[in-house]
């Protein structure tokens, strides 16, 4: 499916979010407010996005940008759903009920970014040992065991 078509379908579903649908580097991206993220993802799943490719986060300073990559076999398309989670209170509803695939992915984001997924069945650290302190992929992560690289390019 072409990306413009996708945009129309999404816009028909969410007229108010249409301006937040951007096309960049050949990928459709929709930015969704935090409180609507779960319902939006559920609607997109009903629309045909049957695979959750990836859940990840990007540290944007004040906020974490949560990035969901959806993939559809029937629509032959992929798109991003993004939302901002405040750093001060990083909580977001889990999508494990929609795609079980989110289970480990969300655990990973929790492990490395400290974003809490509410409603997750088993939210524990996954990659790091259970007694690890801090969330290393945050930009402000401090660890005296890290040796910084020399600063030249």
């Amino acid at each position: 499916m072409r990306i413009e078509e996708l945009r129309e379908r999404v816009c028909a579903m969410y007229p108010d979010l249409c301006p937040l649908f951007s096309i960049e580097f050949g990928d459709g991206t929709i930015a969704v407010p935090l409180e609507r993220i779960h319902s939006a993802l559920a609607d997109l799943k009903d629309m045909g996005f049957d695979r959750l490719g990836m859940v990840t986060a990007v540290d944007r300073g004040e906020d974490f940008e949560l990035v969901y990559r959806l993939q559809s076999r029937t629509l032959r398309a992929g798109m991003f759903v993004k939302t901002m989670v405040p750093r001060s209170d990083p909580k977001i509803p889990s999508v494990c009920d929609l795609w079980p695939a989110a289970n480990w992915q969300e655990r990973e984001v929790y492990d490395l970014f400290g974003v809490v997924f509410e409603g997750h069945p088993d939210l524990r650290r996954i990659l790091l040992p259970d007694d690890w302190v801090g969330h290393p992929l945050r930009k402000d992560y401090q660890d005296e065991r890290i040796i910084r690289r020399p600063d030249y390019i």
Binding site: R149, P150, Y152, I153
Partner: protein, 680 residues
């Protein structure tokens, strides 16, 4: 494609084997089949590698532990020096070995810019000048006017900014100038034969220099009162102060050249006489007349050729355009020169019209940029249609819009649109090319001239239709650059030398390689150290400089020049200069490089490779400009202690073949080969 049909077809589903049967018998059969396969396997030759018989050749791209071929301070870089008849071979040899520095390879005359930078950084400036003069006979001149193809091929483009090679020529000349009288003495005349050169342009001078060096007597004739050819008559003085040119030619005279100025061959002296008097004659007369376009109105008053315009502007500082509006037709370097000269001789308004679009303009981008700075207006994609006249006096020009200049195959075939514009002008200068004028010259000889008035010349050997008469320079190549002309001069000198020695002219002569070097997009210079930046050439202020013929470029100071020479990467020299790009590229930050930049005592003081971090990705060796850093054909090494794995400079310089640093005692495991790698 028989093989493709035999290829097994993918089944609908992989869950079932073809002809699969269940049950005990079938199961037993499958087990028996398994036995037959293992028996067959046991009967075949094991695929184990037998050392050292089998695995003696390894991939030439083998990524073994790194080593250095040479370092600054221990190893000298080779200077490209040689008599002109052997020089091409030298260059070609290096090129085939992939060891030709891009600056040298991209220069038409293969001037050793690398050696120049090496010597200047070593504070051997005069030596540097003399090295350069061997190939580029007028470094001081070319250091001002060259279009420096070397700099656009400079490997440094890939990292940050190219080396300022041309300003270094100029700097070297300025240093040399102070002591030049001490350095000049005539070449001994050993050959007893004489050569006559007609024309004292760059190509003629180059040939003269080579022949003098080879021990011939060289007599040169020049039509003008001062020597230099097009450099004298055509190049505007704001780019090239004449005293520089005369001084450098004076040096060549000092080397033994017999220069006769003010003598026009063909008019004052017949060419046939010269051919009798000398063993060989070289015609280096260049292009003497400007081309005009066959459009209506070109015979009107106010239409001038570029050469005539430049001549009068250069010598009289007056071209009859004071307060007038000048329109220059053409987009080449000459057109820009004309435009800039026109400003300097008092034109009130200078416009430049050319067929090409802005990005396609044939002139060098820095030239047009400087011209625009000074107030020239460029009108692009316009083709001349008709000169508008009033009472046989130019009032303007009708221009037609040009859609495209070249066709698909790249030939010159302009396509014009419908729109026309009229441009008002009082003087129109045509700078669309030059043509030779040799009728008078060749009169009375058997030299063949083509229908279009051009001399018939062999493009590679520079022979004409008459034995013993050679030609070089723009008369052969057509309008070109000064350094290109010099290159033909060297070639012609080689031909003359071979002719006079009775050797076959072509023989084993190597055609000059014209390699193609990658162009790089401008590198990101954010965040780089100031020592990595290119020295900025100080320029006169545009508003001031446009009013007279003072030099625009002011030259580098000694300090700047030394720093700039130190930036040179010594490409392909196989001597590490401590450029630190390996350390910067290493994803593991495993390399530490330090060097001392004290002139005369430059050396690499530290080259540490922490083999414990190296990931053998090869990025460092791949981008090493000098190819000093390379992968050895060794296996990864094993050690009894981790500290032994930090290789210092001495360890990095270990011989790459025959040793395995294993245990550091040279013991190679029994039954294992010493991997061999082809070494250049």
């Amino acid at each position: 494609m028989a093989v493709r049909d035999e290829r097994p077809k993918t089944p609908e589903t992989v869950s079932e084997l073809p002809g699969e049967k269940q049950g005990l018998i079938a199961g037993a059969m499958s087990i028996v089949k398994g036995f037959s396969i293992t028996v067959k396997a046991a009967a075949t030759r094991p695929s184990t590698v037998k050392y050292p018989k089998e695995r003696v050749t390894i991939s030439p791209r083998w990524r073994g532990p790194l080593a250095l071929r040479g370092v600054l301070g221990r190893d000298e870089i080779p200077l490209l020096r040689g008599p002109s008849y052997a020089y091409n071979e030298l260059i070609d040899d290096l090129y085939k070995k992939d060891r030709l520095p891009p600056c040298v390879g991209n220069c038409p005359a293969n001037v050793d810019a690398r050696g120049q930078a090496y010597l200047i950084a070593d504070n051997r400036v005069v030596e540097a000048y003399e090295l350069v003069r061997d190939r580029n006979i007028l470094p001081g001149v070319l250091g001002r006017i060259c279009h420096h193809p070397c700099e656009s091929a400079c490997k440094r483009n890939f990292y940050d900014e190219p080396i300022a090679i041309r300003p270094l020529h100029r700097f070297a000349f300025e240093e040399y100038r102070k002591i030049r009288h001490e350095r000049i003495s005539p070449f001994p005349r050993t050959q007893g034969k004489s050569v006559c050169i007609v024309g004292s342009g760059p190509s003629g001078l180059a040939a003269a220099y080579d022949l003098l060096k080879l021990g011939y007597r060289v007599v040169m004739y020049e039509r003008e009162r001062k020597p230099g050819g097009a450099l004298n008559t055509g190049v505007p003085a704001y780019r090239l102060p004449r005293e520089v040119l005369y001084e450098e030619i004076d040096d060549i005279v000092g080397l033994g050249l017999e220069l006769n100025t003010g003598v026009e061959v063909g008019k004052d002296v017949p060419l046939a006489k010269l051919m009798r008097e000398h063993d060989a004659v070289l015609l280096a007369v260049g292009l003497q007349q400007s081309r005009l376009l066959p459009i209506p109105g070109t015979d009107a008053e106010g239409v001038v050729g570029a050469l005539e315009f430049l001549w009068s502007a250069n010598f009289k500082h007056e071209a009859g355009v004071r307060g007038k509006r000048v329109l220059v037709i053409g987009g080449g370097n000459v057109a820009v020169d004309v435009a800039r000269c026109a400003l300097r001789v008092g034109a009130s308004e200078v416009k430049l019209a050319c067929l090409e679009s802005e990005s396609e303009m044939p002139c060098h981008p820095w030239e047009i940029a400087e011209a625009l700075d000074e107030g020239v207006t460029a009108l692009c994609s316009l083709g001349p249609e008709e000169v508008l006249t009033k009472h046989n006096q130019v009032v303007g020009m009708r221009m037609r819009s040009c859609l495209s200049v070249f066709d698909e195959t790249g030939r010159f075939a302009p396509k014009f649109g419908e729109e026309t514009t009229d441009v008002a002008a009082d003087v129109i200068v045509f700078a669309i090319g030059q043509a030779p004028k040799i009728d008078q010259l060749v009169a009375g000889t058997e030299l063949l001239v083509s229908g279009r008035g051009q001399l018939v010349v062999d493009g590679t050997l520079f022979t004409t239709s008459v034995d013993g008469v050679f030609a070089c320079g723009e008369i052969v190549t057509g309008p070109g650059s000064a350094i290109g002309s010099i290159a033909t001069g060297h070639e012609a000198a080689t031909s003359i030398h071979r002719y006079l020695q009775g050797l076959p002219l072509d023989g084993d002569r190597v055609a000059r390689p014209v390699p193609v070097y990658p162009k790089h997009a401008p590198a990101d210079t954010r965040g780089i150290e100031s020592s990595r930046r290119r020295a900025v050439m100080p320029m006169a202020d545009p508003s001031e400089r446009a009013t007279d013929f003072r030099q625009v470029e002011l030259g580098l100071t000694r300090q700047e020049a030394m720093a700039e020479a130190m930036r040179c990467l010594r490409c392909e020299s196989e001597v590490c200069v401590g450029c630190t790009f390996c350390a910067r590229t290493c994803p593991d930050y495993a390399i530490a490089v330090e060097r001392v930049d004290e002139a005369g005592a430059r050396c690499l003081t530290r080259y540490d490779l922490d083999l414990t971090k190296c990931c053998f990705c090869g990025l460092c060796a791949e981008q090493c400009p000098t190819k000093a850093l390379h992968h050895t054909g060794q296996y990864e090494l094993s050690f009894w202690h981790r500290d032994l794995m930090v290789f210092d400079k001495g360890e990095m310089l270990r011989p790459p073949i025959g040793t395995r640093a294993t245990g550091r005692d040279g013991i190679s495991p029994p039954g294992c080969p010493v991997p061999r790698k082809e070494e250049a």
